[in-house]
Amino acid sequence: MKTPILSLVSDRRKLLKGAAAMGALQVASPFVIPVRAVDNIKMGMVDPLTGVYAAPAGNEVTGAKLAVEQINAKGGILGRQVELLVEDSANDVGTGVQKARKLIERDNVNFIIGDVNSGIAAAIAQVTAEKKILHVVSGGHTDTITGKDCHWNVYRVCNTTRMEANSVSDLLYNKYGKKWHFITPDYAFGHTLYDACAANLKKLGGTVTGNELTPLGTTDFSAYLIKARAANPDVLLLLVQGSDMINCLKQIVQFGLDKQIHVAGTQQELESLAGLPPEARIGIWMFEWYWKQPGVPHVAEFVAEIRKRNDGKVPTARHWFGYASAMTFALVANQQKSLDAVKLAQALSDFELPPEVKLQPNKVYYRNGDHQLMTSAFVGEAVSKGKDDPEDLFKVDSVVPGDKTAPPVADTGCTLKWPA
């Protein structure tokens, strides 16, 4: 009985040491920094590839990678090939800022994309403004990025919370009623989204029956749902996102609340709908981009290309964010025949995206005054089971152009200061 234990001990040590050695080998071999082809143009991308936003971040990266492939196939930027350098911000500001500096100082990138996390996006924007690097925020929604914290070198692809609120407010009021109850995630994104919705509701003549502020990462919404039910609203608006959205919707349906109150919200994502059991896929929402757009040019090709790189799954809005961000750089640099950040930033004002990049019916352009992309809102209803395609979980009712949902520049609080 003794000997097996002894050999087990030494075997265990050997096993662990072997594992460590193999791990070290995998990691050590490229330690000698590969001589980066000096000729290449480098695009840096900082996204939280680990942590709670790993799924949308990964999708953004996939979209950007496709864009870079296509750019290179067409000859690159100014005749030079493009390299995409992806860094993990790990959903931590310090890490995000450090990676941004690494990309700029050590790797000499010409462009930066990032971050899904609004806080990190804003922190990186400070670095890129300091270093005069053109920066497109792909997926961070906080309004201040194209609002009171706007920078001359920062552009944003995804919607602001005001745009999202404006896209659905009228519809919900007319269709469902005037008493709204909110479940709001307790951070800046949630607060501004709620403020926008509440302001719209007031203008329309409705009332807010209550606002449940839920801490981020809440798993059990029962206490809030109890209160919501007691307030007897016409509509229950869920402003929470990601796993919070999934948990909340699941519980609403399990409690049978959806049979008593209409359920709706603003931003919804395919990632969340896919993570829900079919019976919980309900409600009226807006998507920032949707893959099924019959009759709109180039969309089907994009979907097919992403499917090849995404285990056969269709692209989500996040894929499109990454794609459009990377494409933006190529388009404007090739048009201006320059890599100068200031020149390109100026050229991007009122820059319109061509059909093969905008992948939606309306006119899509970066607005002059705040650098916000006027991208459309796809308003519609969640579907529990896709009709022709298991991933067609959203029925689009209308596609509202960005400049109709966006507040006027004067209201955003953005004043751009261009370098001398």
């Binding site: 662990l16 594992a19 460590a20 791990g23 995998q26 990691v27 490229p30 330690f31 920094i33 590839l49 680990t50 860094e87 993990d88 790990a90 931590d92 500001v93 310090g94 890490t95 800022v97 450090q98 990676k99 500096r101 690494k102 100082e105 050590r106 609004s118 806080g119 804003a122 922190a123 400070q126 300091e130 906080t142 914290d149 307790d186 951070y187 800046a188 607060h191 801490p215 981020l216």
Partner: protein, 318 residues
């Protein structure tokens, strides 16, 4: 001078030389100055934890709270109170230190697991305050809108805002001040008493050492150093966020201390170097860097509990 003392002096000289010349030898190795600055700041934090852990034998797993408080203190100071970077640093350090003094008084009677859990509890309370009091702290989005200001000496300015190298040397200077203070304290009779408490608390008590008071003072001092590290961190990022207060951040600091060698003075700095550089490098190379870092934790605990320096020392003496 004895051989032992010469050796120590040589080691010290090597360390400081390496730190002073870091911006120059890092670049050819694929490093970058901002990385060195980050290593310094986190190294100081790890050394502050070790001040308590390695030298007094007290495990605080919620020490990041004071780190975070230092960061917010500096951020708020720069945002609302002053345009002087050094003043904001002092204010940040004070916030962390005073909080440590107050909380330390409450918990010095506990030991072991209880002490660790209380420190986690308090740390998390601060985390939630920072998270919820968003009108002041910016909540989950973090505290923004401030940045380190160029140092104004009247006759000339040192631009630590845009010049990465200048900022590195500024941080190194603060680091040197803190580390010297730490060294002096450890060498003093108070420091000796701390080590006595670590070795055998009961005996120290019998010797008449007021154990609780010493632990409280050690706790407070380490919180001041921690606050300074946090203040510097806010300057590195021009940002302060709740994550800096979270217990997982504490875990990282403790890990650095253990990895480098808890019983030695410079061990935690070495641990910080390895940890930060490895994490920075690994996360660029593979998306599964978390597994590697976790594996590192496991390997260090199982095979190198005395840390790298402890391992090296045992090889030397063997």
């Amino acid at each position: 001078m004895s051989g032992e003392q010469t050796r120590k002096l040589v080691v010290l000289a090597v360390i400081w030389l390496a730190l002073l010349l870091a911006p120059y030898w890092m670049a050819p190795l694929g490093g970058y100055t901002a990385l060195a600055t980050r290593v310094l700041v986190l190294g100081l934090a790890a050394m502050s934890v070790n001040f308590l852990l390695g030298f007094t034998g007290v495990l605080s797993f919620g020490h990041a709270a004071y780190f975070g408080l230092g960061a917010y203190g500096t951020g708020l100071a720069l945002k609302f109170l002053t345009t002087s970077t050094p003043v904001s640093l002092v204010l940040g350090m004070l916030l962390g230190g005073v909080a440590g003094a107050l909380l330390g008084a409450l918990i010095v009677r506990r030991r072991g697991v209880y002490f660790a859990m209380v420190t986690i509890a308090f740390g998390q309370v601060f985390y939630y305050i920072a998270f919820q009091w968003s009108s002041l702290t910016g909540g989950d989005d973090g505290l923004r809108g401030f940045s380190r200001q160029p140092l104004d000496f009247g006759l000339f300015q040192i631009d630590i805002l845009s010049n990465t190298n200048y900022f590195y040397y500024f941080v190194l200077f603060c680091f040197a001040l803190a580390v010297s203070a730490m060294g002096i304290i450890l060498r003093s009779p108070f420091g000796r008493a701390m080590i006595a408490i670590r070795e055998n608390e009961r005996r120290a008590r019998f010797l008449g050492i007021p154990v609780e008071r010493h632990i409280w003072i050690a706790f407070t001092l380490s919180c001041f150093f921690m606050g300074l590290a946090g203040a510097l961190y806010a300057l590195v990022n021009n940002f302060a966020d709740p994550k800096g207060l979270h217990y997982s951040q504490s875990g990282d600091f403790v890990m650095m201390a253990v990895m480098g060698g808890m019983r030695s003075f410079w061990g935690p700095l070495l641990g910080a170097v390895v940890f930060v550089v490895l994490q920075d490098y690994l996360s660029s190379v593979t998306i599964n860097w978390m597994s590697f870092v976790g594996l590192l934790f496991v390997l260090v605990v199982l095979f190198f509990p005395r840390g790298l320096l402890g391992f090296v020392r045992s090889k030397i003496t063997a």
